[in-house]
């Protein structure tokens, strides 16, 4: 995809979403906002998992760090929520760098288990540090704007999503992105050609965590209640399912996955928590039969049609 084409498509979608507050009711606006939140989450997870092959289970945890840092600063220390969001992003980035460096010498399952452990530890701390976090009750936090309105939040999340997508697009189409993919394909070969594997992996972790922190912080101030549900494994597996079903390692895949799954889960809400189970199963089937997700299926179909026409 050429740069111009990318920005044109991005602009078109921005225009389309900007119209949504004029045509959608509050409930549907809420669905759009949640879709945008998951787009930010899935796209940034795809950056480490899809582009550098580090399947981290701590992505929801970093969103939680963003949400709680910003929430506590705003609710307890009287910071402006916007400043809180900024500090939340930095906190997520710093912890992301820490976890990334800790996992540098690990690959595959060991990295996944370590990040899973980190995620659970964080979850336990948040649930137990009642004084700061109000545990499972959830921490009430102020909103980002004085007069709460879904339309305003739609624009805020649209801006957040645009920032996230542009950062990721720029990154994967730069030299850094080439290094990301080299490291994912073969670390040893990459190192032998001069790629600083340590730096590449740590950088991916830091940026991806910062973007998760941004998504989480905004989300907390939207819900006005920060609960341990944000940094939960449920959330993590939902983001994973979205990325895998949409198409891991492709730019558009996680976006498609986020929208399809979030809209679907609104429809099958009546069946309670079983939807996560269903998504997990579909993700498994996808990973087995179409590792490149829905995007991969579409591309294969297109190639098939072309081949049939020729």
């Amino acid at each position: 995809m050429k740069d111009k084409q990318f920005y044109a498509i991005l602009l078109a979608f921005t225009g389309l979403f900007s119209l949504s507050p004029f045509v959608l009711d509050d409930y549907n606006l809420h669905v759009v906002i949640v879709c945008l939140f998951y787009t930010m989450m899935a796209s940034s997870w795809n950056l480490i998992a899809g582009y550098t092959g580090q399947v981290s289970f701590a992505h929801a945890a970093f969103a939680g760090i963003g949400a709680y840092t910003s929430g506590i600063l705003a609710a307890k220390a009287g910071f402006s929520p916007w400043v809180g969001v900024g500090i939340g992003v930095v906190a997520a980035a710093v912890l992301g760098l820490g976890v990334g460096v800790l996992c540098l010498r690990m690959g595959g399952i060991y990295l996944s288990l370590t990040t899973l452990g980190f995620s659970e530890i964080l979850h336990i701390i948040i649930t137990n540090e009642y004084e700061f976090t109000r545990g499972t009750m959830g921490l009430q936090v102020p909103g980002l704007i004085a007069n709460y309105s879904k339309s305003a939040y739609m624009y805020i999340f649209l801006a957040g999503t645009l920032i996230t997508l542009v950062v990721i697009y720029k990154l994967i189409h730069s030299n850094v992105g080439l290094n990301f993919r080299a490291v994912q394909n073969d670390e040893r070969a990459a190192a032998s050609l001069g790629v600083n594997v340590v730096r590449v992996r740590a950088l991916a972790f830091t940026i991806s965590s910062a973007l998760a922190g941004l998504a989480g912080a905004l989300y907390g101030h939207y819900l006005l209640l920060v609960t341990p549900e944000i940094p939960s494994l449920n959330q993590q597996f939902l983001v994973l399912s979205m990325t895998v079903i949409g198409g891991m390692g492709s730019f558009v895949g996680p976006i498609v996955g986020a929208f399809v799954l979030e809209v679907l889960s609104e429809y099958i809400r009546a069946y309670g928590e079983y939807h996560v189970l269903v998504f997990g199963l579909v993700a498994l089937l996808m990973a087995r039969f179409s590792p490149k997700g829905l995007i991969g299926l579409l591309q294969r179909r297109k190639a098939g049609v072309k081949a049939a026409a020729a």
Partner: protein, 239 residues
């Protein structure tokens, strides 16, 4: 002055001594063959030089600087490139991108043009230009070897470590590859350290040959002298 030297290099893996006090010297612009029976420690020596393994003891000197224990990527940036015995292309990337990785990480690139132009030049040089947009996954063995070579060259090295680049090629292709290797030395002044089992190729291209046996130096000298030496014949064929 010698460009690349090793002194008393030893490498232990648990109880196995893979290298025992190995010495070597490469002059600038030389092609030096490294031969020996299977398990002699040839690839281990390359791994030590290229920074994939830290030696248990001993030193590697490159251009007067002690580079012992430098990481693989640092060694490469300093000017020592290698190829792997079993090729390791980035399978999910195009040939152009494969070579591009070398270009963008090398501190010695020429200023003009983006990495694409420079990578194209190198692909052209090894004869892979028509495969520019092919995924490395789809290449046959010979083209994978060419790609491996192209990636090493694109780092703009001073020393090239070649690990059995001719294995699996037919006689015609071997001739072409040997010509390419000679050209690298003649046109770019590259210094080449070359593990090879195809003796004819070593005989025709190498200035001198180092023989390893069971992890230790056995002998070294001009190719003709080495292959007729009774110790070398004994190492390969037994009594």
């Amino acid at each position: 002055m010698a460009l690349l030297e090793g002194y008393d290099i030893s490498k232990r893996f648990g109880g196995v001594r893979a290298l025992k006090d190995v010495d070597f010297t490469l002059e600038q612009g030389e092609i030096v063959g490294l031969i020996g029976p299977n398990g002699a420690g040839k690839t281990t020596l390359f791994n030590v030089i290229a920074g994939a393994f830290r030696p248990t003891s001993g030193r590697v000197i490159f251009d007067g600087e002690d580079i012992t224990g430098h990481t693989a990527n640092r060694t490469c940036r300093q000017g020592i490139a290698r190829t792997f015995q079993v090729t390791r292309p980035f399978l999910e990337m195009t040939c152009l991108e494969n070579v591009g990785v070398s270009v963008i990480n090398s501190p010695r690139q020429t200023a003009h043009g983006g990495w694409q132009e420079q990578a194209l030049e190198v692909l052209d040089y090894v004869g892979l230009l028509s495969n520019e947009t092919t995924l490395a996954n789809g290449l046959n063995l010979i083209d994978k070897k060419k790609l491996e070579m192209a990636r090493a060259l694109a780092t703009k090295p001073e020393v090239l470590l070649l690990d059995e680049v001719l294995a699996g090629l037919n006689p015609q292709e071997i001739l072409q590859a040997v010509e390419l290797i000679k050209k690298l030395r003649d046109n770019f002044g590259l210094t080449i350290f070359w593990i090879e089992h195809v003796m004819g190729a070593i005989m025709s291209a190498a200035d001198s040959v180092i023989v390893l046996d069971q992890g230790a130096n056995l002998m070294e000298g001009p190719p003709a002298q080495v292959v007729s030496d009774p110790r070398v014949i004994k190492a390969y064929l037994g009594e």
